[in-house]
Amino acid sequence: MISLAQMAMAAGFILILIGFYGALTQRNLLRMIVAFTIADTGVNIVLVAVGHMRGRTAPILDVAVPAADAVARVIDPVPQALVLTAIVIGLGVTALMLAYALKLHARKHTLDIAKMTELKW
Amino acid sequence: MSFDWMKIPYALLTVFIVFNYGLLLGALIQKIGARAGRRHGIPIWQNYIDLIKNYGQRTSITHGVMFYLGPVFRLTGGIGLLLFVPTIYGSYMFSNLSFAGDLILALYFVFFGTLGMALGAGESGHPHAAIGITRGLSQVSVAELPFALAVFAVALQYQTLSVTDIVAAQQGGMLNWTLFTNPLAVAAAMLAFLGSMMRPPFDVVIAPQEIPIGPPTEYHSAYLALMQTNRAIFPVAKMVIYMNLFFGGATSWPEFAVKVFLLYLFSAFVGVCFPRFRVEQSIRWFLIWAVPLGVLAILWV
């Protein structure tokens, strides 16, 4: 039977594909950015899903999970640490893209990426 | 090296004989040609008269040093050609100065005169001189090709470049002549012969009608005399080579006389039968008919 992790992972992958599709077909800069945030979310979900282990709890030591038997109780903490970084970086890029879109619109009075092709060949 | 000084008077003797024979022969052939054309023709001694007259005259103009050199080159070429080839086979007396060089030297002396002539006439600055030179060089260079090829065919055939050896190889009966042992080469050479004899159909270079055309135009008096002298010696010298290479050479002066006469007659004969070619026509003619023969001759050996 399919585990939660796999379902989450599948969902993540689907999100990525949706995001990519949008990014490839939408010519409006803002829509492309939105598409990318979707894809990022998908990636993050996959990241977390990979670390998930059935029947275990979050890697925080407290009364519920004493340090002694943490090994048997907690899930893999590494992906969670990684996803944190991934999220933040994705956010930085998104902010950057937004700023560029803003500026490009100010310059060219359009958000159509197909109209920004002075540089080519 | 020990040089036999007697060779010099002997060589001069050869030159003298050939010179006179050439003058007479030239006149004779002219006469024959004229008769063939239903004309009276010149008296047999006409060349002597012209020559003496021209030698007697003095010019008062010159076009510069190259202008002198033209006839000088020309005659040097002629005499050189004669002297570097043994005239009479087996005779020490008339082996001339052939110790100095072999066929290749002779070949080059065929060109020597033409080149110098062209230079000399060139300085005359006469535009027509240039035209004549163009034609002359173009035609001669092509006409000599089959000859050179034939010569090499022969050289390959006898595996030597020494004229004496070649003649020696042809002794003992007509059938040993190259004419029969290597007919292709001879055919090619004879066609070339026509081209270099300055007679129709290949005489556009010195054509009598276009008097102002051609190197001789600018030359007169002593210059002309030198060139006439050459015109007496050069053809004979050339025919000596032909004789030696293709027709078994000559062991005595009479034999020499006959063979040369017949060769000369051949060109005259063709001359009276055929109209004149333009230069490019003759070039094509040689390339189409003569050169292939020469090539075949070389391949065939």
């Binding site: - | 002198y68 005359s124 470049l161």
Partner: protein, 1055 residues
């Protein structure tokens, strides 16, 4: 020793510190930036020194007080140190070049710059996969931001668009990278690169499958950062729009870091992934070079070139399985060459106002910058003595040793294309008219270029030393002739006459130093190259002023020639070959209209050189050293191929028919005193090569074809066509050039006869051709100099005005045509004797036909120029300058002497040849020379002809002593001056009858063929580049398509 960690911390501290400064304190901020970058460079330099001087192992740097793999660790070794030094220095000097912009934009921009440089170093240092990702993202963001540095100067939003496109693509890349990383972690249980490399091979079954998928994603994502073809449109837009100083960083540093990252990854993936890297790399190399051909924008062109170079290095990394421990030497050599040269070129482009390639002509006024440019392009094309050359040599040899011929061929092909557009560009610089905008030589910008220049030469020194250490090869930079040539760069300001004296002294001194070690054969060439060279250099005294750039080039060529005849193994030989090629190229390029011809010359020469390289590599079969003499030991099936490659290579230099089209222009357009050098002397290099080849390898049977016979044919046809083409030339120097082609044909024919007489003839040609061709080129050059034209039909009647030149020409043509009694006849006599020995009769006939034709063009040469009617415009022409006439007179003397006593040279050569061809030599009795066919007595001939000639001449003079000179128009024009005297000089379309009869033989078939080839290349590139539509989404499509194609094909390669 400061921990390498502080490269990162220092940069970060400085970056964060920026925020505390006031917006106005920009000077201070800039100061801090520079100091930090300098500090970072200093750290790397310190480490580099440690590793280079002592063989200490790489040093691990732990963080968090915990051992890897549980905490992130960094590592610095030799490679890391070198790369970080490269990165930080590039960052430093680029920042310097960016001064104005950074000051204008303020502390934020500087902070971003610092972070960018730091991130690149991080990529190199880190040993943790996810950490690698973080640094990459940092680079991406910083890059996207720094592209905007150009915005404040030209405010057109192009950079914005480029940055956005880059972000779009990078989003896809980072998605793949993250997913790949997490799954790789999941399968191997670690993020540490070394740990993963250890764990990966142990995986099995589904885990291995999953891991290879994950690794593919990581690998392809990092490779995508290398801008592989076709997924690189975004990068090109960045190169074109960004500030050149940033492009320098982007090309040199980012490229290097990414390549090193790939190298780390290959460590994880193992050899199974090498083919994929190779494939992507080589395709990118070829395609990018092809696409660079039609570029007109300098920065975009440099972008394409950068991508190509990165591709090449990727391909080399893909060969690590055979490169073994030379990988660092080879890949490093290529990488550093590329990085330094590209950084330098981008910095240079910052000095140029306009973007067209022609605009770079502005550099012409600045010798130092020109020198920098030259050094950079030579570095890129892998010419000696730069590191790229050593690297290329080893690489090609290793490839050939392993039989990876296809890759070898592709690499050389790409390199040739690259050389094509780079040298074309140099041609523009030297020849196109300079634009109005002057070069912006602000100190802080020029410093960067100078630094790159210094780095370039320092690196060549280092690689030279390495080649000494690793392969016991000479360090080229320390080779005396080359050093001598290079010193002329420093002496450039001196007056020309002084440098000329030095040059001549140098040549003679070198001959004196080395003459003992030449066998007679080499001696001939030594004399021609060195003594002959100094003789032709006499003519150079005519030049006034400083003659900037002439002597370095000329001496480079002579250095090459000098080294060529001393070379004993393939390496030295090839080095010398390349040197003389490059030197002669610069020499030829000096001609007024020589731009296109110089280009075709260098392309043909490099093409030939590559063939030679391939040939040597094939022959060597991986042996470290290979003596030229060992060529003799080669056997089937290798030998004929080697022979073929080498022969064709050498024939490009001797301008064999079909490969000849570069020669006429190159020789005709060269300067007056250069033509004799390149014609009289340089051509002999090719013959020397052929001689060495034939002496060692001799007859080779290639699938039943006797290669010698092929060469016989080529020689014959070359002679015929060369002469034919010569007679129809209107341009005197072109006529001479074509006649050179013909003469080389004779020489090749002689060599191909492979018997005593043939070789004797060839060597006589070598000597004679040097003498009379140098002489003719000088005298004709002198005439052209005076009359200002080379069209013969414009001249005429110059004999009285330039008597000396006339005499030289007269003697020259007599010698060439071989008319007795001059020395030419000796050559001819041997020639005719030789061809009697030819088994193949048809080529013999062909070469025969070529003979008389020579008379025609020679006569035309002397007649149309010196005889006939003098033209009005030349009535006041003076004799050629003394220094041009002097060597001619010397040559005349030589010819006359050799004419009388040919034994002087001939005899020695003859006896020497007995060693190789014992029978069929000449017999010398008294003054008579006898061959197996005929005999020849030069002295007698001289005397006889002389006597007859002189008698007649004297007599003629005597009888006409009172004759007076006729005025020009006293003939046919009856002393009336004709209107337009030039019409009275029959010169145009001389030998028209010949053209009518034989014109069809002179169709420029070869020219058509080669121009078609180049056109095809250009069209291909021009069509292919349309593919970069400039639409960011299209680029995204390219990326995905690229990933998927590699996935579908590449994974097939995997086990």
């Amino acid at each position: 020793m400061v921990s390498a960690l502080h490269i990162i911390t220092a940069a970060l501290a400085a970056a964060f510190l920026m925020g505390l400064l006031k917006e106005q304190q920009r000077g201070l901020a800039f100061g801090i930036t520079l100091v930090t970058l300098a500090f970072m460079s200093w750290i790397s330099a310190g480490w580099l020194w440690t590793f280079a001087s002592t063989d200490t192992a790489a040093v691990e740097i732990f963080t968090a007080g915990t051992q890897p793999p549980f905490a992130i660790n960094l590592r610095i070794g030799l490679a890391e140190a070198a790369l970080t030094l490269l990165i930080n220095l590039t960052g430093l000097f680029s920042a310097l070049a960016l001064k104005d912009t950074l000051l204008a934009l303020g502390r934020r921009a500087m902070a971003v710059w610092l972070v960018a440089v730091m991130a690149l170093s991080g990529i190199v240092l880190t040993r943790d996969l996810f950490n690698l990702f973080v640094f990459f993202e940092m680079t991406v963001i910083a890059t996207a931001g720094l592209v905007l540095l150009s915005e404040h100067s030209k405010n057109d939003g192009q950079a914005l668009a480029a940055g956005f496109k880059y972000l779009v693509v990078s989003q896809f890349i980072s998605a793949f990278l993250l997913i790949g990383i997490i799954f790789a972690y999941h399968t191997t249980g670690t993020l540490n690169i070394d740990g993963m490399a250890a764990a990966a091979p142990l995986l099995s079954g589904s885990a291995a499958q999953a891991f290879s998928l994950a690794f593919f994603l990581i690998f392809i994502a990092i490779v995508a950062e290398l801008k592989p073809f076709p997924a690189n449109g975004w990068a090109l837009d960045i190169y074109e729009s960004a500030h050149p100083a940033f492009s320098a960083l982007f090309s040199a540093a980012t490229g290097a870091a990414a390549l090193f990252a790939v190298d780390k990854l290959l460590l994880i993936g193992g050899d199974a992934w090498l083919p994929m890297a190779t494939g992507i790399g080589i395709i990118t190399f070829i395609a990018a070079n092809l696409l660079a051909l039609p570029q007109t924008n300098d920065r975009r062109l440099l972008g394409y070139s950068s991508i190509a170079q990165t591709g090449l290095i990727l391909a080399v990394l893909g060969q690590r399985d055979i490169l073994g421990d030379h990988t660092l030497y080879i890949a490093g050599g290529l990488l550093l060459s590329h990085a330094v040269a590209k950084a330098g070129l981008f910095w240079l482009s910052g000095l140029i106002a306009e973007r067209g390639l022609e605009a770079w002509a502005a550099l012409r006024g600045h010798p130092v910058l020109i020198f920098a440019f030259v050094s950079f392009i030579c570095m890129l094309t892998g010419l000696p003595p730069f590191p790229g050359f050593y690297a290329k040599w080893e690489l090609i040899h290793l490839l050939a040793g392993e039989g990876r011929i296809a890759l070898l061929g592709l690499i050389l092909l790409g390199a040739l294309i690259e050389a094509g557009y780079l040298f074309r560009w140099f041609g523009y610089i030297m020849k196109r008219e300079a634009p109005a905008e002057v070069v912006d030589n602000a100190a802080h910008k020029v410093v960067a270029v100078i630094a790159a220049l210094a780095a370039a030469w320092a690196l060549s020194l280092v690689w030279g030393e390495l080649s000494v250490l690793q392969f016991e090869r000479g360090n080229l930079l320390l080779a005396l002739p080359l050093l001598f040539a290079l010193t002329f760069l420093a002496l450039d300001p001196l007056p020309a006459w002084l440098k000329n004296t030095l040059a001549i002294a140098g040549l003679l001194a070198w001959f004196y130093l080395t003459y003992t070690e030449y066998d007679p054969l080499r001696m001939i060439f030594a004399v021609i190259f060195l003594i002959g060279g100094s003789l032709t250099l006499l003519a150079s005294y005519h030049a006034h002023g400083q003659r900037s750039g002439f002597y370095p080039s000329a001496m480079l060529m002579f250095a090459g020639l000098a080294m060529l005849i001393r070379a004993t193994d393939t390496f030295d030989f090839f080095v010398a070959w390349e040197l003389l090629t490059v030197g002669s190229y610069f020499l030829i390029l000096r001609g007024k209209h020589s731009e296109p011809h110089a280009l075709s010359y260098i392309l043909f020469s490099l093409g030939g050189a590559f063939l030679i390289l391939a040939g040597f590599a094939l022959a060597t079969q991986g042996a470290p050293h290979f003596d030229l003499s060992a060529l003799a030991d080669l056997v089937q099936p290798l030998a004929p191929w080697v022979f073929l490659l080498l022969a064709i290579g050498f024939m490009t230099k001797t301008a064999a028919i079909g490969l000849h089209i570069w020669l006429p222009g190159a020789h005709a357009e060269a300067e007056t005193d250069v033509s004799p050098m390149v014609s009289g002397i340089l051509l002999k290099a090719g013959l020397y090569g052929l001689i060495v080849l034939l002496l060692t390898m001799g007859r080779q049977d290639f699938y039943g074809v006797e290669l010698i016979n092929v060469m016989l044919w080529i020689g014959a046809i070359t002679a015929l066509i060369g002469n034919l083409l010569a007679i129809f030339q209107e341009d005197a120097k072109r006529l001479l050039a074509y006649s050179s082609i013909g003469q080389m044909g004779y020489a090749m024919f002689g060599l191909a006869l492979m018997n005593h007489l043939g070789w004797l003839m060839a060597l006589m040609f070598v000597i004679n051709h040097y003498v009379y061709k140098s002489m003719l080129f000088l005298s004709i050059g002198g005439v052209a100099k005076r009359t200002g034209t080379r069209e013969m039909y414009r001249m005429g009647g110059l004999i009285t005005l330039m008597p000396l030149s006339f005499i030289a020409t007269l003697i020259g043509i007599i010698a060439v045509s071989g008319v007795p009694p001059l020395s030419g006849f000796g050559g001819r006599w041997i020639f005719y004797n030789a061809i009697l020995t030819a088994e193949a009769r048809l080529p013999m006939v062909i070469i025969f036909l070529a003979g008389p034709i020579a008379f025609l063009y020679l006569f035309r040469l002397i007649y149309t120029i010196f005889l006939g009617q003098l033209k009005d415009e030349f009535r006041r022409v003076k004799e050629a300058p003394f220094w041009i006439v002097l060597p001619q007179m010397i040559y005349v003397a030589i010819l006359l002497v050799v004419a009388v006593v040919p034994g002087l040279v001939l005899r020695h050569v003859d006896s020497y040849l007995n060693a190789f061809f014992p029978n069929g030599g000449l017999v010398w009795e008294g003054s008579t020379i006898t061959s197996q066919f005929g005999y020849w007595n030069p002295v007698a001939i001289m005397i006889i002809v002389g006597v007859i000639f002189m008698t007649l001449f004297a007599w003629l003079l005597f009888v006409n002593r009172r004759a007076q000179k006729v005025k020009q128009f006293n003939i046919v024009f009856s002393a009336e001056r004709p209107f337009r005297p030039e019409t009275t000089h029959f010169a145009w379309n001389f030998f028209a009858p010949y053209r009518k009869a034989l014109g069809f033989l002179t169709l420029p078939l070869a020219t058509m063929f080669w121009s078609t080839v180049t056109d095809l290349l250009h069209t291909a590139g021009d069509l292919a580049r349309r593919f970069y539509t400039g639409n960011g989404q299209t680029y995204a499509f390219h990326l995905l398509a690229f990933v998927m194609i590699v996935y579908l094909f590449g994974m097939g390669v995997r086990p």
